[in-house]
């Protein structure tokens, strides 16, 4: 039942309603609202009960294995939540003078330093509020860089951004937002970028390339140094999509691969919560030549005092991307997590995430599932393709995905990357136990058997969730986005 259907006109939560004694209201008539908005008139208990029960209808990391490839669904330590919400931090107004904000600013500064270290970049800004905004900041910096060339006259010919066909959708979308044309680069059959195609594609029109390494195919781009050389030689810059940083944390630094700019998804690698869609945090790191363009605000240290620097003192900055300091509370969570991991712990993240993925790959392969890149090492994730099942049994990836829900597992990422047909991108993360991985794989094998013997049960799954399979076509055709009373 919707919350509105539980309401009754005139029901008031007095404990939550400021008393209007002696209220002065001098708002002129023409500015006033005339009718009450449709907010539910329910009691506090009704609200608590309704949303508590709704919450129970979700799968989440706290309740289920959630091997969603590219999303790094690992344990979100509860300490990060609790400590980032300490009253002194939770109540701090963003306009509080620096003098009264040294505790908060110290955390931001320390986090910048930590991220510099793990990325091998020259400088970091914490400003962007998610991966896609980090990408925006990065590509905007690439634009700013080219615009500053030739003694400030710019390099207007550089109108293209190269993007491998395996890239996440945010990469081309970001290039467009920065007014670049997108040129797709194909992938070899072994999952690496097609070097010949790249060579053919670069030129004086190349502003840069956006790469994810490890790529979204779950493999490490081995020719990264060669790629960097090709793009740099053509005058382009290299952008690193850090969504997969979990795979190499502390093991390899993007800065060492030759990247000029990177974003990180702290809500992936640094385990801040996904919150059913967000928030995230997408700090950017840059090489020395892009440093002047970093988005503000940033935090600097000066004789033991921390200060916020803004566009005022950073005139070449691409500027601010949010009203204040990005998703500050999320940055705090990432900082707390980073400190708990420490230098050794970070490397272990990459190691065990990789171990888990390669273990699953090996078992899945032995169990008869087709691996997309069987000759490659998995990084922290790998791809199974169910194209044979789809063709021979009429049971496709979506069917497997939905049926997994019945078995108590969230589905891996489906139908991404787009270039692998009927794919499942599986990312177990380092925080899952071998037992859990084994249970998941047993479920996959059981579903495979079902697909062979009673495919209907798979094709009409799920059967044990709050709803059965939903009609997405109807949703898009007969748009119902807002509840109307009768």
């Amino acid at each position: 039942m919707l919350v509105f259907e539980q309401a009754r006109t005139g029901r008031i939560n007095a404990a939550q309603s400021v008393k209007k004694d002696n209220v002065t209201n001098i708002i002129p008539e023409q500015f006033k609202r005339k009718t009450r908005p449709l907010l539910p008139e329910i009691s506090e208990m009704q609200a608590v009960r309704h949303y508590t029960r709704l919450s129970q209808k979700n799968f989440s990391i706290d309740t289920h294995f959630y091997p969603l490839g590219s999303c790094t669904m690992k344990y979100n330590p509860r300490a990060c939540n609790q400590l980032s919400m300490l009253p002194g931090l939770l109540n701090r107004h963003p306009a509080t003078p620096d003098s009264n904000s040294q505790g908060f600013l110290a955390c931001m500064y320390d986090l910048q330093e930590i991220l510099k270290d793990v990325t091998g970049m020259h400088e970091v800004s914490l400003a962007p509020m998610a991966g896609a905004q980090g990408e925006f900041a990065g590509v905007a910096m690439i634009r700013a860089y080219h615009d500053a060339q030739n003694g400030g006259k710019g390099d207007p010919a550089r109108t293209e951004i190269l993007v491998p066909d395996a890239a996440h959708g945010t990469n081309p979308a970001t290039a467009t937002m920065c007014n670049f044309k997108v040129k797709e680069i194909p992938t070899n059959s072994d999952g690496d970028v097609d070097i010949d195609a790249l060579k053919a594609a670069v030129g004086p029109q190349t502003a840069g390339i956006m790469l994810t390494n490890p790529s979204t195919l779950g493999v490490f781009e081995r020719k990264i140094k060669e790629i960097a050389g090709i793009v740099h030689d053509a005058g382009g810059l290299l952008y690193y999509d850090g969504a997969n940083l979990n795979a190499i944390l502390g093991k390899v630094k993007p800065g060492d691969m030759g990247f000029d700019v990177i974003h990180m998804n702290l809500h992936k690698t640094f385990s801040t919560p996904h919150g059913g869609g967000g928030p995230g945090a997408g700090p950017v790191g840059v090489s020395k030549r892009l440093e002047p363009y970093l988005p503000v605000p940033m935090v600097v240290e000066n004789e033991g005092e921390y200060h916020v620097v803004t566009e005022k003192s950073r005139s070449q900055s691409i500027g601010r991307l949010s009203a204040y300091m990005g998703n500050a509370g999320i940055l705090l969570r990432a900082y707390i997590y980073a400190r708990m991991l420490g230098s050794e712990g970070m490397q272990r993240v990459a190691e065990y995430a990789t171990l888990n993925a390669n273990y699953m790959l090996a078992v899945m392969q032995k169990s008869g599932f087709e691996i997309a890149y069987p000759e490659r090492r998995a990084t922290h994730e790998f791809i199974v393709t169910l194209k044979k099942q789809a063709k021979d049994l009429g049971v496709n990836t979506m069917d497997f995905a939905k049926r997994l829900l019945d078995y108590g597992f969230h589905a891996p990422t489906t139908y991404f990357p787009l270039l692998v047909p009927e794919c499942l991108l599986i990312e177990p993360t380092e925080t899952e136990t071998k037992q859990e991985l084994d249970d998941f794989m047993r479920a996959m094998i059981a579903i495979q058997k079902e697909a062979e013997t009673e495919p209907e049960i798979v094709k009409t799954a799920p059967h044990s969730l709050p709803v059965r399979r939903l009609d997405d076509v109807k949703a898009a055709k007969e748009l119902d986005l807002v509840w109307q009373s009768e």
Binding site: T52, R92, D117, T170, R320, S322, A323, I330, G342, L479
Partner: protein, 470 residues
Amino acid sequence: MPFIPHTEEEVKSMLEVIGVDSIEDLFDEIPAALRSEGLTKVPEGLTEMEIGRIMRARADQDTYRLCFAGGGAYEHHVPAAVWEITTRGEFYSAYTPYQAEASQGTLQLLYEYQTMMASLTAMDVSNASLYDGASALAEAVLMAVRANRKSKSKRILMPRTVNPAYRKVAHNIVHNQGIVLEELDYDVNSGVIDINSLPDELGDFTALVIPQPNYFGSLEEVDALTDWAHQHKALVIAVVNPMSLAMLKPPGEWGGVDSDVVGADITCGEGQPLGIPLSSGGPYFGFMCCRQAYVRQMPGRIIGRTVDLDGKQGFSLTLQAREQHIRRSKATSNICTNQGLLVTAATIYMAIVGPYGLENTAAQSHSNTQLLMSELEQLNGVQRIFNSANFHEAVFKFDLPLDDVIRSLAAQGIVAGIRLEDDYPELGNCLMVCATETKSEDDIKSFVQTLKTTLTRLQAAACPVQPKMA
């Protein structure tokens, strides 16, 4: 190992299955030259107890007593239930609801949120959030350019009474696409846009941005502005404080006096006042609503109600063809991760306070600010500078150097307000203050009293030699 459950035995058996000798071997495709030497600036790991000690010390350091700053981030009471439910693992640690059947909790909540926001703004539809108010304005501008087929100008009229940070963010994002934000000045006496100053002859604009209340807390002539825009074939982008909408005419009802078209075309703003803690400026959430006709131009997630195989009601992400994961370089925006958890909190907040609670909160904030204003007006050396009606913020000009005042109050545990000079050079020595419902009469009087004493002291310090018989 922090957060890694593997036992030695398990690792051994897993490596055996893979067929390698060590975990290190799994990194053998990475060129050796690239392998890093380790981390040098990352300190050793801490236990939860140890980091707790550090964080508590830092948090204690930043505690203050009273805050009268607003400027886009407002201290409101948040019912305890809001965050106790929002941080339940099932909301907190879920991903974007791609698998709808396993995400009905989040999806139904978002559908309810869309309904609440649409009603609050009196717009047809709402999306499921953008990053924050500032970037929501940027997206609104981009959307207006896509949506307004009648204009090719890529010029947007942007009043200076819009939050300066929002204007900067909007510029930083949209200028890449050659979109120009043309500034529109305000009337110095009223602090609002003078209708007569609108550039009647200047021709083609894609959209007019209208803030309500504006950055100074003052109330714009939204009806006249809306009609002006629609007469000039420009779209109206409303930037509003959702809390104020409990008292103020919603954007969906603006105008229609001198024009057939009623209402703003796109409404956006900062959702923070709806149950989101100040938290140093984030995470908050941007909201966006629009006319039904423009829904396919809207950025961000949108949830639709549909049915399952049995015809039972259910919810799912819809109109995904607008989004980057489907449309890629042709998407309405690059946004992917949004601010779902904050929307969760805001939805629960609105459900708990309901229409009366929201109205009372807004009214008390308005009233408290009136009290603060009348108290401040009685101080020597402090003058209110705009004479327009306002919601819950007001601007005061100080005779003494404002920075000294702010610094001195901060040392006494009071965040005095927002200094405007950086963003408005013409408003030197001007402080913007805000008193929401969280301030008691005593709080307000204590602030004014402290300010008075401080001013007297600073005054005395400024003229150390007192005339003998003054």
